[in-house]
């Protein structure tokens, strides 16, 4: 049976594609060292549009209006420039309300584009450019520690990781945050205190990594201008022990918090990168796994939600769960030594 995979790796190599939504200009070049906040490309999406109904305003048929229009598609116009003028004794003039570009003329109308929306392509991942996709973007290769989360608020930043927890169960409160943590990436367990998020934003911190976040704070977290990654979920579960060990053992190192919004169809996930010096490229993670003995696994549902263990064996046939459901299951040895039977549907492979 195919297994979902979450990466929690102390040393690995990953490649991430960063592409513009529309063709544009790519600034980065092959083999360039990239920081997460580097702008590696730019595209122009066009601005707002103004549709001038010349025929209606001049009260003439569209075909006649077309002859009164003084601009052509592609022309740049400035504010107050005449767009069309009637041939009356006292001519009536239609002027551009803003600087802009004429996109279309016809049917007695003029379509103007005013302003411009430039999209910057931020690298979001530290590493080296290993491929340039012409006019669209780059592929970045990163080596170091990698932790994938389950929810991100879309922001990205880097800073020194500062654990504010002694155990994975610890709860983050506003009182724990002070000015000495300004510019740091805070690692904490659970958070259900809106004041904690508020204070973190006021300092400000460069990122917040949480085991779990109360769902009532999701709206607030989404609005924050610093990246927030939730590693385990929304139900008050502690930070999983594997992530706890990996992240606390890298305390005070520079980390990148890429709180990308998760999308299971395109594969986007929030990720934490800790660049580490390597002499040769560490192995790449496996994206596809099938359940098998000796795999490290994370338990996704109650009981033991968020616990880490080792898959001992796959149970033959179907096993009856406490809920009464009969499901394909595996025996898993938890870190506590306890051996439990878990539905395969409620497991994911860590690797």
């Amino acid at each position: 049976m195919l297994a979902p995979v979450t990466h929690l790796l102390p040393l690995t190599t990953v490649q991430r594609e960063r592409l513009l939504p529309v063709p544009g200009q790519v600034f980065a070049h092959l083999d360039q060292k990239i920081s997460p906040l580097d702008v590696v490309g730019e595209a122009h999406l066009g601005g707002q549009h103004l549709l001038l109904d010349v025929a209606r305003q001049l009260r003439v048929p569209p075909e006649k209006a077309d002859k009164l229009i003084k601009c052509r598609a592609g022309d740049q116009v400035v504010k107050n420039q005449a767009i069309a003028q009637s041939r009356d004794l006292i001519p009536q003039t239609i002027r551009a309300g803003q600087d802009g570009k004429v996109l279309l003329v016809g049917g007695g109308k003029v379509l103007l584009e005013v302003g411009e929306t430039a999209i910057e392509l931020i690298a979001r991942v530290p590493g080296t450019v290993t491929r340039v996709v012409q006019d669209r973007g780059i592929e970045i290769t990163f080596s170091g520690a990698l932790v994938q989360g389950v929810w991100g608020n879309g922001q990205v930043d880097s800073g020194m990781i500062l654990p504010l927890l002694n155990s994975p169960e610890d709860v983050l409160t506003a009182k724990q945050l002070d000015v000495s943590q300004r510019g740091a990436v805070i690692l904490a367990g659970q958070c259900s205190d809106p004041a904690a998020l508020e204070t973190a934003g006021e300092l400000p911190v460069r990122g917040l990594i949480l085991g779990s976040l109360s769902p009532t704070l999701l709206g607030q977290a989404a609005q924050m201008h610093f990246p927030i990654i939730v590693v385990d979920g929304f139900d008050g579960r502690p930070l999983n022990t594997a992530a706890f060990k990996l992240l606390t053992s890298n305390a005070k190192r520079e980390v990148t918090v890429n709180a990308e919004i998760a999308d299971r169809y395109n594969g986007a996930r929030p990720e934490i990168y800790i660049p580490l010096p390597v002499t040769e490229e560490p192995p790449r993670p496996r994206e596809v796994e099938t359940f098998a003995p000796d795999q490290p696994v994370r338990l996704l549902r109650t009981p033991h939600a968020g616990a880490i263990g080792i898959l001992i064996n796959l149970k033959p046939g179907l096993a009856t769960m406490p809920s009464g459901l009969r499901l394909q299951a595996a025996e898993v040895k938890l870190e506590t030594g306890e051996q439990v039977v878990v539905p395969l549907a409620n497991l994911e492979v860590l690797g």
């Binding site: 979902p4 769902p215 299971r264 109650t302 009464g324 539905p343």
Partner: protein, 585 residues
Amino acid sequence: MPASLIDADSLLAVDVGSMTTHATLFDVVEGHYRFIAAGQAASTAAAPFKDISEGVHQAIENLQTITGRKLIGDDHRLIMPVEEGNGVDSFTATLSAGPAIKTAVVGLLNDVSVESAQRLARTCYARVVDTLSLNDQRKADEQIDSLLRQRPELIVIAGGTDQGASRSVERLLETVGLACYLMPADKHPAVLFAGNKSMVEKVKSNLQNLTSYLSISPNLRPTLEVEDLQPAQRAMAETYTQLRRTQMGGVDELSSWAGGTLIPTAYAEGRIIRFLSQVYDPSKGILGVDMGVSAATVAAAFGGELTLGVYPQLGLGEGLANLLRYTSLDDILKWIPLDLPAERLREYMYQKSLYPTTLPASVEDLAMEQALARQNLHVALNSLAKDFPRRVGRPAAGLMPYFEPIMAGGSVITHAPSLGQSLLILLDAIQPIGITTLILDQNNLMPALGAAAQRNSILPIQVLESGAFLGLATVVGPIANTRPGTPILQVRLVHQNGNETRVEVKQGALELLPLPVGEAGRLYLQPLRHADLGFGPGHTRPEGIPVTGTVLGVVIDARGRPIRLPADPARCREFIKKWLWTVGG
């Protein structure tokens, strides 16, 4: 062309869902079509595969293992037609995988063509992100910018009765055309036009080169009074499939195996429900419900007229993160027999949205999952009920019409730990009235039969009659305006062997009268205090009603319509526990 057994003997049907891919084999056994076996595998539409082929191949391989029949050749292609006992004679496919299609709806008047276009969008896996109409206060350029921001994948355009308004439609077409023109070529949306037929040539000339796919359907509102969604539904289904072909790997291959007849799962389910409504008692409707992870689907048909609704926001997966826009925690909590804080339920919903394929292993999780299934199905059904044809009678405002039978799919219902739980989920969610039969689709056959019905009308009928579906219960749902505890019905069930079971049913009660599968009986119902069983207040069929055995027998659900639960949470839990105990836990 009438179908025959000779046309194609065996049929392999594949249904690709967001979470699971099913492969189902039908073949002729002793001169009749039969369901043979089903294999399933995790769907692979999402990352890292982003291609449905792996899941399809695995599901078929699992089916091969079960049946011992080779279906895929060494070249990884489907063996079709049958060669030396291997392969199949025909193949159908249905698809629901993928995120809901971002859809913009365009029409003239909000309460006429826009409403019809929205109803059309609801027949497929769509999420309406923008609506343009003459009622829209925005200027044309603001509408253009809105479309550019929303980037719909599909634009459904309706408006103008045939021979009716054309200039207003033209204005809206111009707005849509300009927005499409301004989108990058690789982001052009598909467009489905189902408006004034005199505008078709204009639509083609204006939009043909600005869309990824242009579909023209007969007007869904040919006159102001008449709404005809059926042809537009077909066009909507084709457009959906076409979009998925460009968005998702493996859809092309699946479509070619199906000879180009790949259709959306909900469309297939709707088709079989409509088909059955032409076969069964014309005085009642047929109801089909499917409570899935990616959507709740409800199909109701009355004498061949189908009302279909797909509600991605009411699925039991990713949609749960936004469910509280459509219902409340209290309305879900009331169905849970355990004393749980509301926050625990909220957390469960958000956590499940992160891991939609996970399953409830604990008693607490199961209680929350089943409560969500009840409430979501209830909300979906009540939403769809607003679109039922006006001619469809209801015993009172706010109640469901009479249905016979009610067919249910979705593993939360069909694979509940006990059949009593399946029964109670359906009774609580649907609250059927009159006399009806509940049928479970435990093998996910509905999409397959709906897809097959297009080419072979014999197969669905014979499979339905073969016992491939599970008859869950015959339900009697009386309506009585009286206090709980008051007798409202005397029931006498006479078995084939002459044995009788008698019971007096009180308002508020839930009673089960066993009538095992394979047996038959006659049900004599004597309503008291003007209770209505669907024959009019206080009326009955003195000659009795023939009933056939089902796994749970005859169920008298006299809990009231609508079911009114006590306001006190503790008492409410007691009621739910008592009902669970009554149906076998």
